[in-house]
Amino acid sequence: MNHARRSEAFLDDRVKADWHDQAIWFVRQKRDHETHGIPEWEELRELGSQIKSHTLSRLDHYLEIFEKNARKHGVHVHWASTAEKHNEIILDILKRNTIRHVVKSKSMLTEECRLNPYLESNGIEIIDTDLGERIIQLRGETPSHIVLPAIHLKKEEVGELFSEKLGTEAGANDPTYLTEAARIHLRSKFLEAGAAITGVNFAVADSGAVVVCTNEGNADMGVHAAPVQIHSMGIEKVIPRTEDLGVFTRLLARSATGQPVTIFNAHYLKPKPGGEMHVIIVDNGRSEHLGRKHFRNGLKCIRCGACLNTCPVYRRSGGHSYNSTIAGPIGSVLTPGFDLEKHSDLPFASTLCGSCSDVCPVKIDLHEQLYRWRQIISKQSSYSKSKKMIMRLAGNVLANPKRMHLAGKFARRMIGLLPRGLIYLPANKWGAGREMPEPPARTFKQWYRDNRMKYGQKDNS
């Protein structure tokens, strides 16, 4: 099933679809409110974009500086070329320390690597500690949004889930009550965890620190309580200097949730006394993506989710309709790089309205990349042969006034002559929810010929 079909299914429940659209639009409005209070916002975006572009152009250099500085503080730095390597490194750390219980703070990278099922199949309990993440973990789902993983669920659905899994009162859906229940449940998990895993928002080369931004404080609680801390980062997360960080924390919080600042911006620099700190630097296809001229700047992404919130398609189709770890416009430009065949529907899941590119805090040209992917997908061997032929034929018609005239005449006649039942057959996707335009008596060209044709003008139509 492709995105078109999945979005159609999502829209079947109109009330829920409208609720989803409005809930996420609310976040977009909060973002607008916060950004419009910053007169230098566009300058900030430009700065963020340039710092990221610069860093991506010297990625090896900055990663090595980061590694050197992190090691100085006694941090173990690991390099993982693939998701599998990443998972093995983590399992190895846990085994060496005989750890069976792990808490994790939100990390899209570990989602990408499918870390949870891997650790679970090796007998390790791994608990997601962000409220939204824990909710979807209990439901056996994947996040539908990179910042708001359970945004597809209403509080009633969470109440039902907690009643079944955490023993809350049946029918209770008061958010404060449910959150309190989750807190109590998670508290015991924090206390028994031997290791805490987090993602990384920024790895600062000149200090060797990894910075994690959360609103719930769960990353910090996990890291401070567990003897072993593990931070997984994609290679693109490095930034050159501590002083660059302010640009990104300002951009990130406002773009993600419309907050002036994220509640917790933790800098993890060194292991706690008697503890261990590991940083795993993961490639998993990123180097290859960096080599794609038109698409490399997708790696500037700071995972704020603003492009999802603004996307009129995302809001009305839900994150799961993308069938990809990362949904929305950024997912649609990054995911085809992992598996083009499987995700070839994603670049077409857009009207190319361009809102994503303008909302992006680091100026990724998202809608242009969607357009570029389309050009590549149509050349794949798996692409429909008949579609290829039709397009070639159409190209011939559009380049030739005479053929174009005939095709137009034919189409207009057909709409005018055919009975309604034949025009609105199921194959006419336009007609499923819309009327066809009414063909006028004359085209503009005919009108022009009759009324304005200049003396001596060549009628080469």
Partner: protein, 245 residues
């Protein structure tokens, strides 16, 4: 000044009145307007579907048809944007560069080149202004709600010169209508849903008309309006700017 009128294929076929209004408006403003009869299509439908290679002949035909004019003016932001932005795959000959830089959407031509400050136009009605995406974000005909820049809109400015008009913005000022070219067919359910929401954004403010710079958005919205038998009418900005009660 030698101005060529580019009438996009679907306007030619289905909305000649928009072409006529554009031509009359430009003539009223004193332009010497030609309509090269050999024109076809800018090639956008193919390219947006991922087949820009198949569109190259249409691109070259467009350049050949229009390269001798000072300006090429079109009543469609999306087509103008396509020529300006996506003809970058052609060899950038003098003609190509000329056509790319001189193809302007009607509002840009009126505001930036003709520097129109008054219009002999009147239109009595409550008109919802839909900001078509390619014009707004592609050609920067106005400020959009995402960027933090001083508020402006070339289209709104032009409409404000029309006597008697009441301009209304939707709650989500510049959300996409859901047309998106072949997207309208490819993901038709979602496309229609977006259109319905867009129309609701205007009808909830009791508009009588919905206008836009791009007829393609309006064609899509009109299809939904007619299917749902909504009383609101669609009208292109050129028709309003050329209107006298």
């Amino acid at each position: 000044m030698n101005v060529a009128l580019f009438i996009p294929c679907y306007i030619d076929q289905f909305y000649p009145r928009v072409g006529i209004a554009t031509l009359e408006l430009l003539e009223k403003l004193g332009c010497n307007v030609s309509f090269p009869m050999a024109q076809t299509c800018c090639g956008q439908p193919l390219a947006n579907s991922g087949h820009e290679d198949d569109a190259v002949d249409a691109y070259l035909h467009f350049v050949e048809t229009f390269s001798t004019y000072d300006y090429i003016v079109a009543p469609s932001g999306s087509c103008s944007y396509h020529v300006r932005k996506h003809y970058d795959i052609l060899e950038q000959t003098k003609s190509v560069q000329h056509v790319r830089s001189k193809t302007l959407d009607l509002p840009e031509f009126l505001v930036d080149i003709l520097e129109v400050e008054k219009l002999d136009a009147s239109f009595h009605g409550r008109v919802g202004l839909h900001h078509s995406c390619h014009g707004l974000r592609g050609l920067r005909l106005g400020s959009d709600s995402e960027r933090v820049v001083p508020a402006f809109s070339k289209i709104r400015f032009l409409l404000s010169l029309v006597e008697g008009i009441e301009i209304v913005e939707a709650d989500r000022r510049d959300e996409c209508c859901g047309f998106g070219g072949t997207y309208a067919v490819h993901e038709h359910a979602l496309s229609v849903k977006m259109g319905q929401d867009r129309i609701e954004g205007f009808t909830s403010k009791e508009v009588e008309f919905i206008t836009a710079g791009d007829m393609s958005c309006l064609m899509h919205l009109e299809g939904i309006i007619k299917r749902e038998k909504s009383p609101v009418e669609i009208i292109h900005i050129a028709e309003i700017l050329n209107h006298r009660n």
